[in-house]
Amino acid sequence: MINVNIDGKEIQIVEETTIVRAAESAGIWVPTLCYSELFEPYGVCRICSVEVIRGKRSRIVTACNYPLRDNGTKILTNSPRIQTIRKMIMELLLSRWPNVQIIKDIAEAVGVKEPRIKCLERDEDPNACILCGNCVNICKDVVKANVLSFENRGIKREISLPFDEKSDECIVCGACAHVCPTGHIKIKTLGYERGALQDWYLGPKTAINIPTLQAVPRVPIINEEACIKMQTGGCGICSTYCEPEAINYDAKDEEVEIEVGQILLTTGYQTIDLKQMPQYGYGRLDNVYSSLEFEHMLNSTGPTGGTILCKDGSVPRAVGIIHCIGSRDENFHKYCSRVCCMYALKFAHLVKDRTPAEVYQFYIDMRAFGKGYEEFYKRLLDEGVNMIRGKVAEISEGYLTNGEKPFLMVKCEDTLIGKFREIPVDMVILCPAIEPQFDASNIKKIFSISQSPDKFFLERHPKLDPVSTMTDGVFIAGCAQGPKDIPDSVAQASAAAARILSLISLGEVAVDPIKAEVADEYCSGCRICNSLCPYTAISFEEEKKVSFINDMLCKGCGTCVSACPSSAITGKGFTDKQILAELEGILSV
C-alpha cells in the first residue's frame, strides 16, 4: 500500500493502481474517452491527462494507464496546465466531429463550446468513428479474434477489416458494436438473398446461436468452430455475463461407445443435386428454388416470414411447380420418389392461398394414392391450378420489350393437348428426387447389410420381413429403406420399434446354432486356422497345442472348417458329411 495525494486528498491505494482507479476511489472525476475496464487501457485520447508531481519533477501523464508506484506521489487532475491541455484536445476533437454526442458532452464538461480551429477533415456525422480504438482493442484483447485493425497512419488513420473484406475470423459477437461510443459500428442482419437461401445460409455464423427458431429444445448453443474460447482459450466473456452460470465450455463433441443389442438405422435421404441438370437453371437463374428452399420460405419463422416473394421483393405473378426432377428419369433415378406429387399440390394450394399468382403444375403422372390424397387433388383442380401433363424441357430467362422485370420461361410439351408450350412464370419450384445418403455405402459396410440396386438399404424380405436386415439385430426404417412419405415412415419405424421391443421383452436372444467346433482329439495344432477368423474366435492353446474356437465369437461362416487340413474342425449345421450328402442327393438325378 502506498499513500498518494490527489488534488489535495490523501488516499491509500495498492501499488500499481492506475490514477483513474485511484481518483475514482477518491471520488474525483477524470474525463475519459477511450478508456474501458474491459481491456487494457489504450491511452490514446489523452483527455485523461493529469499532472503527476514527484519531488520537484512534474510531468503530464495519462491517468488511465499510469501505474502509481511511489509513496507520496502528488496528482493534480485539474490544474490550469491540465485544463489547457484538455480544452485544446477537445477543441481538436470537436472541430473534427462536431456532432458526435460523447465528444460534445466531454467538451462541454471541460468548458469548450466552439472550437477556434477549422478542420479540413470535418465530419458532420453524429455516428462518425472517432478512432478511439475501443472496437479494435476489445476484438484483440477480449474476443481475441483480431478482426478489426487500424489502417493508414496520421490523419488518414481509420478502422478497417483486413484487406477491407468480410472477415472469416469474425464471430459476430457484437462486442465491437457494444463498446463503440458513437454507434458507428452496427450489426447488420443479412437480408433475404437468393444465394444465401440456396446455401441454407441462415445469417451470419455466430458463436452462440439458437440453431433454428423452431429448435427443440429452444436453447442457445455454442458453435465450437466459431467460439474463441474453445478455439484459443481466449474471450470467455459470455460466462462472465451469464448469471445462472449455464455456460459450459467443456461440453464438447465426443465419441462414446455404447453397447447395444439392436440397432435401428434411420439415416434418411438426401435430395438430388439439382445443379446436375443445368437446363432447369437451378443456382444460375434467380427465383428457381428447390422444394426444401421453398418450404423454408413458406415457414412463418423463415427469412420472409412466410410471404412468397421473388428475389426482388415482388409478389410472383405466376409460379411453376415441376415434378420428377431426377426421379422417374432414365438418366438419374428410375424409381418414383413418391412424395413429390402431394407436396407439390400442397405448394400449389399455399401459393393460391397466399398470393394471387397463377400456378402451373408440370407432372408426368399424378400419384395421389394415399388416404384422402385423391380428394385433395380434386380440390386443387377446383381451386383452378393449371395441370400440365408433360416433362419440362428447359427453363430460361425471358425479357419483355417494355422493360418490365425478366421472367422465367418454362418450355414443355403438353401431352394432353399434344402441343409444345412455353409458359412464362416468375418463380419455379423444382421437386428433386429423393436419393440415398451419399455415404450409405459406408453405413452398409459398418453394419454388414445390403443395398438394393437403387442403393437404398435392403430389407431381409420385401414382404415378409420389411424392417429387418440380413444382419441380426440391425433394423431399418424410413427413407433409408426407400422413398416414402411421413405416414409410411412412421408406420415402418413403429414396426421396427415393435420388433426390437419384442426381442428386448424376451430378455434373451436365441443364437444361431451354426458354429464351428474343434475336435481336440484330431487337432494337431498346425495353426492354419488361427489367422483366418475375422472375429478372432479362434485361439491357440499353447499348453494343449490345439486350437480352440470361442462359441460366442464364432459366427459360423465355416471358413476354418474347410481350411482345417486334418478336418478337426466341424461346422455345425454344415458339416462335411451333410454337405457331401446333399451333394450326393442333388446329383443323384
Partner: protein, 610 residues
C-alpha cells in the same frame, strides 16, 4: 599477400554508389589491367568516406591523394596520368571555396582535418565486406579483452565511467541504461540495435553500417556480455537501406562463420547471436516501443512508456536498445579506456552521468554549406567551427541564417547562437536537440515559416495517428502554417500555434509527437518577426513563399539593358506579361501565377521580386 604499391580506395557508400562508383571501379580495374599494373595497384571498395557532397570519391594511398566528382570517362586519363606516369591529376582534386589551388592530400582538406574519428575510425580504410580488414584494424580486440580479462560488472563500470550517452537523440546515459536492464530480474533479455534512421537528410547510421558493420556487432556483443542473460540481439534496419541490410547480413554471417557470434565465443561459455530485421517503412518505428512492436510482428505503433522497455520490452522481456552510433563507440571505449573517452567532450560525468557530453558525435552536414557530408566532431565544438571550418562556409557567399539540428524534431538555432558549443545540454537549452545528428544549415534564402511547414508536413505525415494530440494537432499546425505561407494567416494564429505546440509536446504518447512542434516553437522564438511579416504584411522576406511574392518589371532595366526583348512574355505560362517588342513589358499581377519563370529567363535582371 602481394605487396601492392598503390591502393585505390573507392567510396562505396550509398551516395557514391548512386553516382556510379561501382562502374568506376570496373573501369579502373580494366584500365589497370590494360597497363599491366594489376600487381602493383589494388582497388578497394570502402564504406562511406563522408564527403558525400563531392562524390564519387577515390583516395589513392599511400599518398592520400583525394579525388572528387569522378566520372567513368575520366578514369582512363586518371590511370594513365597518376598510375603510369605518377602525376596526380589536379583537375580532380578538391579546391577550397574561393581559392584556386587544389589540395591534393585528403588529410589536408579542412573537411577532414577538422574531424575526430571514433565511430567512423575505419571509414575509407577497410572493405566493409571483409572481416579480415576489420580485424586487421584492431577489430574484435575489445571483445577479446572483455571476454578474457573483464567481468560483466567491470565492463559496465567502464562504460558508465566513460559518460557515453545515447547517440540516437535522447542522450540517455548508456551505462545507466545497461545497468537498469541488468538489474531487472529475468533470464531472457535482449539487446537491439536501432538502425531505423528516418530523419530526412540524416545518414550517420547508414554510413557506419555500410562502412564498418562489425564495429556495431562487436559493440552489441560487448553490451550483451555486460548486461548478462542476453543471448539474442536484433538489428532493426530500415527497409530503405538495402545496402546497409546487405552489409549487415554479410557481417553477421561472417561473424557467425568465424565463431564471433553463436555459442561459446572465443571458447568461453558466453553465447550470443544476432538477427537482422528489416523495418517496414514507418518513421515512427525508430521509436523504441514501436520498433519492438514491429519486430514482434505487430503494427509499428508506440505504447505508453510508463513501464520502460529495459523492464518490459521485446516479448515483455528486459530489453536494451541503443542506436548504431552508440554501439559503434563501445569497442573503442573498451579498448582505449574510459579516461581516453572522457578526454574528449564537455562537462564532467564522474558523478552525474547527465553532467556532460563526452566523446564525438557524427553529424550529417547538409544545407547551404559548401562541404556537405558526414562529419564526426568532438562534443563541445562550436557550431561556427562546424559550419565555417569543416563545412567550408555558406555557399555562394550568402549570409548564414540558422542551423537546424536534430532532424524534424529538432529546432532552429539562429546566427546569434553560432558560438554555441554543440552538446546535448546546450542544444536542449536553446530549444533544439542533438537528435540523431542531422544538421541543416540555412542561409538568408530560407524562409523560416516555410522550413517549419516543411518539417511539420513530414511529422504529421509520419504520425502513426494513435494518439489524438499528434494525429489531430500536428495536422492542424500544418494547416495553419500552410495558411500563413499562402498569406491567409492571422496574428492570433501564432498564439494558437504556440498553444497547440505546447499541448502536443506535453500530452503526446511518444517522442515523435512530443518533439514534433520543436521547429515551430524555435522558429517562433527566434524568428517571430518573420512570421509577423507573413501574417501582417503578407510578405515573405526570404522570397520563398510564392503566394506572397509580387513579380514586377523594372522598366529601366527592361528597356535599357534588354531593349524590351520579350523573352519573358514568350515564356509566361499564364499570359500575364504583355508589352510591345522593344518597349517596356508589364506583368498583370491578377493573372500572374507566381511561377518565377520570367525571373529565370530574364537575362537582364529586369524582373523584381518583392
Amino acid at each position: 599477400m602481394k605487396p601492392y604499391t598503390i591502393q585505390l580506395m573507392i567510396c562505396a557508400g550509398t551516395g557514391c554508389v548512386s553516382n556510379q562508383s561501382f562502374e568506376i571501379k570496373e573501369v579502373l580495374e580494366k584500365e589497370i589491367k590494360k597497363h599491366n599494373l594489376q600487381n602493383e595497384a589494388m582497388v578497394v571498395t570502402t564504406g562511406c568516406n563522408g564527403f558525400c557532397g563531392a562524390g564519387p570519391i577515390m583516395v589513392v594511398q599511400p599518398d592520400g591523394i583525394f579525388y572528387q566528382y569522378l566520372k567513368v570517362t575520366d578514369i582512363p586519363y586518371l590511370v594513365e596520368e597518376h598510375l603510369v606516369k605518377g602525376r596526380p591529376v589536379k583537375k580532380f582534386m578538391y579546391v577550397p571555396p574561393k581559392e584556386e589551388i587544389p589540395i591534393p592530400r585528403m588529410n589536408k582538406i579542412p573537411f577532414f582535418s577538422g574531424q575526430t574519428l571514433v565511430a567512423l575510425r575505419n571509414r575509407g580504410m577497410i572493405d566493409p565486406e571483409f572481416i579480415e580488414d576489420y580485424i586487421a584494424r584492431g577489430g574484435y580486440r575489445a571483445l577479446a579483452k572483455v571476454l578474457t580479462t573483464m567481468s560483466p560488472d567491470e565492463v559496465l563500470k567502464e562504460i558508465k565511467k566513460s559518460g557515453l550517452r545515447g547517440r540516437g537523440g535522447g542522450g540517455f546515459p548508456t551505462g545507466v541504461k545497461w545497468e537498469t536492464c541488468k538489474k531487472i530480474p529475468g533470464d531472457r533479455k535482449f539487446v537491439i540495435c536501432n538502425a531505423d534512421e528516418g530523419d530526412p537528410g540524416a545518414f550517420m547510421d547508414r554510413s557506419i553500417i555500410e562502412g564498418d558493420p562489425h564495429s556495431v556487432i562487436e559493440g552489441m556483443i560487448i553490451g550483451a556480455y555486460a548486461i548478462e542473460n542476453v543471448r539474442e540481439g536484433y538489428i532493426y534496419v530500415r527497409m530503405e537501406y538495402p545496402l546497409a541490410i546487405k552489409r549487415f547480413n554479410i557481417a553477421v554471417q561472417q561473424a557467425k562463420d568465424n565463431g564471433l557470434l553463436g555459442d561459446n565465443i572465443f571458447d568461453t561459455n558466453f553465447c550470443f547471436d544476432i538477427k537482422v530485421r528489416r523495418g517496414a517503412g514507418a518513421f515512427v518505428c525508430g521509436e523504441s516501443t514501436a520498433l519492438m512492436a514491429s519486430i514482434m510482428g505487430n503494427p509499428g505503433e508506440p505504447r505508453a512508456k510508463y513501464i520502460h522497455t529495459v523492464e518490459k520490452g521485446l516479448y515483455d522481456c528486459p530489453t536494451c536498445l541503443n542506436n548504431v552510433e552508440t554501439w559503434a563507440n563501445i569497442p573503442q571505449i573498451v579498448l582505449k579506456g574510459a579516461d581516453w573517452f572522457t578526454g574528449i567532450g564537455t562537462g564532467d560525468v564522474t558523478h552525474d552521468p547527465w553532467g556532460g557530453s563526452k566523446g564525438t558525435k557524427v553529424f550529417s552536414l547538409a544545407g547551404k554549406v559548401n562541404n556537405t557530408g558526414l562529419v564526426e566532431v568532438p562534443m563541445g565544438i562550436t557550431l561556427r567551427e562546424i559550419v565555417f571550418n569543416v563545412g567550408g562556409g555558406i555557399r555562394d557567399g550568402k549570409r548564414f541564417k540558422a542551423v537546424q539540428t536534430g532532424g524534424p524534431s529538432g529546432g532552429f538555432i539562429p546566427e546569434s547562437l553560432v558560438d554555441l558549443p554543440v552538446d546535448y545540454d546546450e542544444l536542449t537549452k536553446v530549444g533544439s536537440m542533438m537528435g540523431s545528428g542531422g544538421m541543416v544549415v540555412l542561409d538568408e534564402n530560407n524562409c523560416m515559416v516555410d522550413m517549419a511547414k516543411f518539417f511539420l508536413r513530414f511529422t504529421q505525415d509520419e504520425s502513426c495517428g494513435k494518439c489524438v494530440p499528434c494525429r489531430e494537432g500536428t495536422k492542424r499546425m500544418y494547416d495553419i502554417l500552410y495558411r500563413i505561407t499562402k498569406g491567409e494567416g492571422k496574428e492570433e494564429d501564432l498564439d494558437l500555434l504556440e498553444e497547440l505546440s505546447n499541448m502536443i509536446v506535453e500530452s503526446s504518447l511518444c517522442a515523435l509527437g512530443g518533439s514534433a512542434p520543436n521547429p515551430v516553437l524555435t522558429s517562433l522564438k527566434y524568428f517571430r518577426e518573420e512570421y509577423l511579416t507573413h501574417v501582417r504584411d503578407k510578405k515573405c522576406p526570404a522570397k520563398v513563399c510564392r503566394e506572397l511574392l509580387t513579380f514586377s518589371i523594372d522598366p529601366e532595366k527592361c528597356l535599357e539593358n534588354g531593349h524590351g526583348c520579350g523573352v519573358c512574355e514568350k515564356n509566361c505560362p499564364d499570359g500575364a506579361i504583355y508589352g510591345e517588342k522593344k518597349n517596356v513589358h508589364f506583368i498583370d499581377s491578377m493573372k500572374c501565377g507566381k511561377c518565377g519563370v520570367c525571373f529565370d529567363v530574364c537575362k537582364f535582371g529586369a524582373i523584381t521580386v518583392e
